[in-house]
């Protein structure tokens, strides 16, 4: 193999190495990158790694939690402060994949992967990106996701605000195989209530577009509504707006659009099944 592997103690050194070579890729958990290498992807000539301990740490503050991009699904699951993210972290891959796959890697996972990124999108997460030069920048996760194919720099951490209440953040993954299975689609929703009415709700979809996306039409339709069957009806009517799901081995685009409102309804009403 002509592949080179370079490890760096600091994130900025790693970012500089990435920037210096267009065929270099940063390896976080490796679950996506090693697959590409195993399958003979000839476009990768260098793997860049960081051994910086901070890369994997999870730091809690009063209003928000900063998750190192190298934190794995099992690290999230071991952290009580992140209980609201457990439903999303728990259904990524199987147990071994969860012991390897990282938050940072999930941000760049092509659809239909990227369930955790979907959850983070609904939480208005802020992503810290370290470029080759200068200090790190904070950008909204939505901006990173939409520009990720052209992204330069290194995602070092993701900061999420704590949800309004334990029940306010919900996540649902639809897959053919359970418990482990790739998404037909996933839905994350942050549903703060003010006086019994939805206020600034955030809805995000996974596998309904090339990247996780916000369902803005649904969010607008739900503003000020009650979280019951009658209240959510306009939101359900707008469920598929802005979506462009793919047809793949798991499901057709048609199927994904058909079942999305059903699962959105179940999520909003707190129904299982």
């Amino acid at each position: 193999m002509a592949l080179q592997v370079k490890s760096f103690g600091s994130m900025s050194e790693a970012a500089a190495a990435l920037a210096s070579d267009r065929t270099a890729r940063f390896m976080s958990g490796g679950t996506l990158l090693m697959r590409a290498i195993n399958e003979g992807d000839t476009s990768i000539s260098m793997l860049v790694r960081s051994t910086d301990a901070a890369y994997r740490q999870i730091r809690s503050e009063s209003a928000r939690i900063e998750i190192g991009a190298g934190a794995r699904m099992v690290d999230i699951l071991a952290n009580r402060d992140l209980a609201f993210l457990h439903p999303a972290a728990r259904i990524v891959g199987g147990p071994a994949v969860r012991a390897m796959a990282t938050v940072g890697g999930n941000l760049f996972a092509a659809a239909p992967y990227g369930d955790l990124a979907t959850a983070l999108l609904a939480l208005d997460a802020i992503v810290t990106v370290q470029g080759a030069y200068g200090s790190a920048q904070q950008i909204p996760i939505e901006q990173l996701l939409q520009s990720r194919d052209r992204a330069t720099g290194l995602v070092t951490s993701v900061t999420v605000p704590r949800p309004a209440s334990p029940d306010a953040f919900r996540f649902r993954k639809v897959s053919r195989v359970k418990p482990k299975g790739v998404s037909v689609l996933s839905i994350a929703a942050h549903l703060p209530l003010a006086g019994g009415r939805l206020s600034n709700a955030r809805i995000a979809y996974g596998a309904m577009a090339p990247t996780p996306i916000r369902a803005r039409a649904v969010e607008r339709a739900l503003e000020g509504r009650s979280l019951d069957a009658a209240g959510i009806a306009p939101g359900l009517a707008a469920a598929t707006e802005g979506t462009s799901p793919a047809t793949d081995a798991l499901a057709t685009a048609w199927y994904r659009r058909e079942v999305l409102p059903v699962h959105l309804r179940r999520l909003l009403l707190g129904e299982t099944g």
Partner: protein, 553 residues
């Protein structure tokens, strides 16, 4: 954990077996749980090279040009293997038993006939180097119209998939383009039936998806032999196939196998050994050829898709009086085992039931899909599923319980089967009764009292006057699709003169003989002309000739 219902047929059996019927530990279980069971890939070879194959991206195309110059110069590449390097570049798996014509190249010559067909192979120091080299090969294709549906493939003007069989059907003994089963006169029986039920059943190709992919390692050994570790389920098939393709005496090949990481029928086609051995011959080093998971799922042979049209005539009282089946096996681009699968299908029609009028046409059809192969009871599971769903529909039609309906129509000892063999050792009725008991499915006393030993034979042992036809004669043009064309006007329903009557086998004396397995059902004996002697020397063994009807009884 095993329950034996020894009350059935107890008069026919000594219960003196010490091993059969007792639970015993698998001889390889200790190896499995200690991680020491050796699969083909669990062998170390110094200097091991890796082989990867360039596959056609088109379902049907001419190969206009192939340029391997850059690939040959690529780092780590030891050899590029082309079609011209293959000593005998045309084979069919069952040539080992003289069945069928050679129709499949190991490496494509001028045409590719399915997406994924191997065109050439690169042998390199590592898999990554082989992948890199493959990316440097330049091939120019002229895509051709392709056909993916069995009935479309049989229409006039359909693209010819496989020039060895220009009508897109396998040719049975150079006589007919399908397997024919004729017994009685179904058209007359349909006219007299109270109900006629006609349905179409379709199944898709099914991928075995073993956890271990197909693969082999071949290495030069002492005595100018090659040792071959293979995932094959069929060591002798694989040895014979490689010996033929590589034109070496079989005693130069030392095959070691027997432990398969999941076969299910998907490891009988010798997908990798001929190339890994050829690679070892051409490089003088051990060569490993393993399908990666994508190759296994997409290009590893699946169970072939089948389509069955079943038309039944049934009386109000539940007796099925006629069954007509037209089946199409999608062999994909090459024959492999589908020709035999169709024979097995014909042998299963009309199911374990005594039906006085049976007509079946079973086609093995070529399409531009991945060549199909065996999988778990291949040739019979698709048709049996279709027949059993049909039985449920018939039961519903006449308002009978489906279990009782099966018991009513089940064959009994002494009945004449459509294949002109007398039924022996029937046990369907008892199986249905026990299944009903296990499922807490009530069946009436009348049906609970029925059994396989009573009620058979007599009139049910007679071979009826049978309407035959010459449809599908080789050289007679393409067959009609959907249903077979009408046979000529049937003869009157009187017993034929003794001299002309086919010899009916003598009914066996009831119950006093030990149970023996009935002879395998064979297609009806060929019509009066003698079998044409083979012009070319036969490659394989003749001992299966009775199965395929090449030997007169």
């Amino acid at each position: 954990m095993l329950e034996f219902r020894k009350e059935f047929f107890k008069d026919e059996r000594d219960d003196n077996l010490n091993e059969v019927g007792q639970p015993r530990q698998r001889q390889d279980m200790l190896g499995h749980v200690t991680g020491r069971t050796r699969y083909f890939d669990d062998h170390a070879f110094e200097g091991l090279l890796h082989l990867k194959v360039l596959r056609s991206p088109h379902s049907h195309a001419r190969l206009r040009s192939i340029d391997t110059a850059a690939a040959e110069r690529a780092p780590g590449v030891k050899r590029v293997i082309r079609a011209a390097d293959v000593p005998v570049n045309k084979n069919t798996l069952l040539s080992l038993i003289n069945f069928g014509k050679d129709d499949e190249p190991l490496l494509a010559v001028d045409k590719v006939r399915y997406k994924g067909e191997p065109i050439l192979a690169v042998v390199a120091e590592s898999e990554a180097a082989a992948y890199d080299a493959l990316a440097k090969v330049r091939v120019e294709y002229d895509p051709l119209p392709a056909v993916f549906d069995v009935e479309e493939a049989l229409k006039p003007g359909a693209p010819v998939v496989n020039e060895t069989y220009p009508a897109n059907t396998f040719e049975y003994h150079e006589k007919y383009n399908h397997q024919k089963l004729r017994f009685g006169d179904v058209e007359r029986a349909f006219a007299q039936a109270d109900f006629v039920v006609e349905e179409r059943y379709q199944m898709s190709p099914i991928e075995h998806a073993p956890t271990e992919t197909n693969g082999s390692i071949a290495a030069p050994e002492t005595n100018d032999r090659f040792v071959v570790h293979s995932s094959t389920q069929a060591l002798f098939f694989s040895l014979g196939t490689a010996a033929k393709l590589l034109d070496v005496p079989s005693n130069r090949l030392h095959y070691i196998g027997g432990t398969v990481g999941g076969g299910f029928g998907g490891k009988v086609d010798s997908l990798t050994e001929p190339l890994s051995i050829l690679g070892a011959m051409l490089t003088g080093r051990p060569v490993r050829y393993v399908l990666n998971r994508e190759e296994e799922m997409l290009y590893g042979c699946p169970r072939g898709a089948e389509r069955h049209y079943i038309k039944d005539g049934v009386m109000r009282d539940g007796r099925i009086v006629a069954r007509k089946v037209t089946s199409y096996f999608d062999a994909g681009a090459y024959t492999r085992l589908s020709s035999y699968g169709a024979v097995k299908c014909a042998a299963h029609i009309p199911g374990p039931y005594t039906i006085p009028n049976v007509c079946a046409d079973v086609y093995c059809v070529y399409t531009n899909r991945t060549p199909a192969t065996a999988m778990r009871g291949f040739g019979i599971t698709g048709v049996d599923f279709s027949l059993e769903v049909q039985m449920d529909k018939l039961a519903h039609k006449v308002g009978m319980d489906p279990m009782e309906f099966r018991i009513l129509n089940a064959y009994r000892d002494g009945d004449m089967k459509a294949h002109r063999r007398e039924a022996h050792n029937c046990a369907l009725i008892e199986c249905v009764q026990v299944a009903a008991e296990k499922a807490n499915w009530p069946i009436s006393d009348t049906y609970r009292r029925m059994n396989s030993l009573t009620g058979g034979g007599g009139e049910r042992a007679v071979i009826p006057a049978t309407a035959t036809d010459e449809n599908g004669r080789i050289g007679g043009g393409r067959p009609a699709t959907g249903t077979t064309s009408r046979p000529p006007a049937p003869p009157p329903r009187v017993p034929l003169p003794a001299a002309a009557q086919p010899r009916a086998p003598q009914p066996q004396p009831a119950m006093s003989q030990p149970r023996v397995a009935p002879p395998p059902p064979a297609p009806p004996p060929p019509a009066a002309q003698p079998v044409k002697p083979a012009a070319t020397p036969q490659h394989g063994a003749t001992r299966f000739s009775s199965v395929f009807g090449t030997r007169r009884r």
